[in-house]
Symmetry: C2
Subunit: 166 residues, 2 copies
Amino acid sequence: MQLSETVEWGLHACLALAMMPEGARIPARALAEYHGIKPGYFSKAMQKLVAAGIIQSVEGRSGGLAMAKQAEDVSLLQIVMALEDHKTFFRCSEIRQKGPCAAAPEHYRAPCNIARVMHKADAEWRRVLATTSLADLRLSAAAEPIPGVNEATQDWLAETGAVRGL
Amino acid sequence: MQLSETVEWGLHACLALAMMPEGARIPARALAEYHGIKPGYFSKAMQKLVAAGIIQSVEGRSGGLAMAKQAEDVSLLQIVMALEDHKTFFRCSEIRQKGPCAAAPEHYRAPCNIARVMHKADAEWRRVLATTSLADLRLSAAAEPIPGVNEATQDWLAETGAVRGL
DNA sequence: GTCGGGCTACTCGGATATTGGCTGTCCGAGTCTGACTGG
DNA sequence: CCAGTCAGACTCGGACAGCCAATATCCGAGTAGCCCGAC
C-alpha cells in the first residue's frame, strides 16, 4: 500500500530543480548524487516526470534536467500522480455484484457506500497535494534553511560543475 | 501504491457481519462465498481483523465469525489499518540528510516541508475514514437497498444454514 | 427414557508455493563540446 | 586568425535481471455437535 520511494526522490528533485536559476540544467546523475541516491533507478523516476511534462531533459554532452514549467504551476499531486501512474489508493472491484445473491447489473449504477467513503478519502488526500505547489515548497524551504547547507551546496556545485546552461 | 484488495473484502465482510443479529456467527468460508471471493486468502484478512480485536472467531464444528465490538465503535480506519499493518502512504527516508552537502544530524529535528505536506495529506485521508463507522455504513446501506438482494440473502442464509448461534 | 462417551465433521490458524510489481543494473543511440586542420 | 570538420566524451532512454511483498493454496490442530450404547 505504500507509495514508491521514487515519490520522495521526485519531490526532492523537483524542489531542487525549482530552486535553480532560470535556464540552468543539471545531469540526472549529479542530481542523484547530491541526494545520495543511486543514479540508475533514479533516472527512471525522472523519465516519468519528463513524460508528464513537468521537467525537461536536454541530451548531449552538456545535457541535463530542468523544470519544464514554472514552479507555481506544478502541484505536488502532479508529481506524485506522474510517478504513480495516476492510480487511486482504493480499487473497487464491485464484489457486491459477484455473490450468489447479487441482483441484475442495472441495479448497480451508483457506487456502493463503501466505495463512496473510500473515494472521498482519496479525494481529500489529493486535495492537500493539489493545493500545494512547488513554489510553496520553495518558499517555506527558503524561510527555514538548514545551517550550512546552502553554502555547501554552492561549493559543491562550483566544484563539480554540475550546473550548465547559464 | 494501491491498497490490498483484502481491504475491500474486509470492509464488505465487516459490514455484512454488522448487519447480522446479535450473537449470530457465520463461517469465513460462507462469508467468502457470499461475496464471491475465494475462501483461502480471504481467511487471511479475517485473521488480521481477529488479531485487531474487531471481529471474533469461534472454533469448532459450528464455529464462525462475528463482530467483537458494536458497529458504532468500529471505524473504517480501524479496519483498513488492521489489514494494512498500520502503515502510512508516504515514507520519509530523510534523504535530505544523505547527500554530500548535508549538515550535522542535530539540525534536522523538524521534518522537512515535503514530509509535512505528505503527512498532512495522509492525515486527511485517515480523518475521513476515522469519522465513518460501521454503523454509518449500515444505516446508509439500509436506506438504499438494492432490489431483491435482501430477499435473496435471507433465502440463501436459510438454504445454506450458514448462520449459527441464534 | 436418560445420561455418558466416543466418533465425526467442520471450523480456524498457520506453513508453504507462486506471482506480479518495485527495485537495481547495464548498455546503446544521440548530441554537444572541444580540438585540430586547412585556408 | 578564422571557419569547417571530426573525434571524443558525456547525456538520456530503454532493455534486461533480482528481490520482496501480495496473492494463492493446502494441511494440521482443535472443538462442538451428533450418534450410539449402557444403565
